[in-house]
Symmetry: C2
Subunit: 270 residues, 2 copies
């Protein structure tokens, strides 16, 4: 196999196995090349990944060493993407009764979702995370997109127990906006005790839902090492009950009368 061919195969393999330690002998055997040639290939790939702002290779020395591909969306690229997203959200056709914004089309677009996942994963790249946790249903695609890049499993908290989940742990919490008592459940066997997790959700106002997830996760002695929400908006009636989160978008003002929507970048870009 020539270098040019090998580089296609190596690039593909790295992109498909983010954050996994791959040994040089594995590549050498796979592609019938000397370790020194593979090492040069990886240098070329690393340079290009960094140049394109899509990630980098990290070398791990020693007998059990190798390389890991760490995907990243540079803050510059992330900012460009979020600016466009804000603009799309300011379209008055998105206005729904009650001042809500229709976002399902954006959350249904695979490329948009992939980019959001890359931003969250870049934000949490240096934190200890074994699982991405979300609550059904709108956060699910964002959680998977993040987990794809972090290379960890997704755990889905539900509003109601399901027979296909086995025994569950449940908590009650007060929803910020509606002041109603709500329930959240998580299958007992889904999360080992003491895991490191990040929480991903699509939308946060006062933060009652995220807070509910935090207390449910504390039943599993989980460490919440990151909280990421796509969009946040102020709750007029209640103060925010969650700190230490990142948001990508802030819905600042929705004026139903004049059909004006103001959306700006979230606190991740401050």
């Amino acid at each position: 196999m020539k270098r040019s061919e090998r580089l296609v195969a190596i690039t593909n393999y790295l992109l498909e196995h983010p954050r996994q330690l791959i040994s040089l002998p594995f590549f050498a055997e796979q592609f019938g090349a000397a370790k020194s040639s593979i090492s040069e290939d990886l240098d070329i790939a690393d340079q290009m990944f960094q140049k394109q702002g899509i990630g980098k290779l990290v070398s791990v020395a020693g007998a059990a060493g190798g390389v890991k591909y760490i995907p990243m969306l540079s803050k510059e690229n992330a900012e460009l993407f979020i600016d466009q997203l804000c603009e799309r959200l300011e379209d008055p056709d998105r206005l729904l009764p009650g001042g809500y914004l229709y976002m399902s089309d954006l959350l249904g677009d695979p490329e948009t979702v992939r980019n959001i996942g890359k931003i969250f994963a870049s934000a949490f790249a240096d934190r200890d995370i074994d699982y991405v946790v979300t609550v059904a249903t709108k956060g699910i695609p964002l959680a998977y997109a993040t987990a794809n890049v972090l290379n960890v499993p997704v755990i889905i908290v539900r509003r109601d127990p399901k027979v296909t989940e086995g025994s569950t742990v449940s908590i009650n919490y007060v929803s910020g906006s509606s002041r109603k008592i709500q329930t959240m459940v998580l299958a007992k066997r889904s999360l080992p005790e003491g895991s490191n997790v990040c929480i991903i959700d699509d939308f946060m106002k006062a933060g009652g839902t995220v807070n509910g997830m935090k207390s449910l996760l504390s039943e599993f002695q989980a460490n919440v090492n990151g909280i990421g929400v796509l969009a946040e908006a102020e709750d007029e009636e209640e103060e925010r009950v969650v700190n230490d989160y990142i948001s990508l978008i802030q819905i600042q003002d929705v004026d139903i009368k004049s059909r004006k929507i103001e959306v700006v970048k979230g606190n991740y870009f401050n």
Copy 2:
């Protein structure tokens, strides 16, 4: 930029933009190379994609021409993967009360989910599909994984209307196993009339849910050009009401007393 560097960048770009037509002049400008060099690069990439069984490049001739990267999981690779999945499902620790199998860990694993999406996308590669449709919640990750490869948006049918969806169309249907009347809703603006869709879900017994989705989709004059379910099982009380679907896995027998589970490859491999 050298050929070796270009190949890293081109491979990455193609993998990130499946099924999108990319013109040679775009690459030529992006990487400062002659169109003839780019053309040679693409030949090398195509050969490697095919050799690795991960996809192929399709050329579109003419002034508006270019190349499209069509990801594929070869049937051979798909079969290997599904064989392993069947084995993992036969673990008696998965048994839940009522003879259900715990599968949330598999559906939470990003690599497993990506592979399932690739198989569905390969199965439907030649069909006309504008949207992937699923119903909340377990089918959602599989739908996105499929949509990622097909490069089309995802539409999520819900069990209950939500204020953030706007006006909805709803239908009632009879669930196969429980014989209960259930509801499904879909936001009116989510799906243009006359769209071509495929349905993806995690599990099918008699097929009441898939049938419900079909009748909901017929309210939108949608053409259902493919139905894919991860796992199917026979319903002892009711005949199957859906034909013309593909399944990747068949749960043949679950014996609670002897804790024996028998899982085989689905009809896609027949």
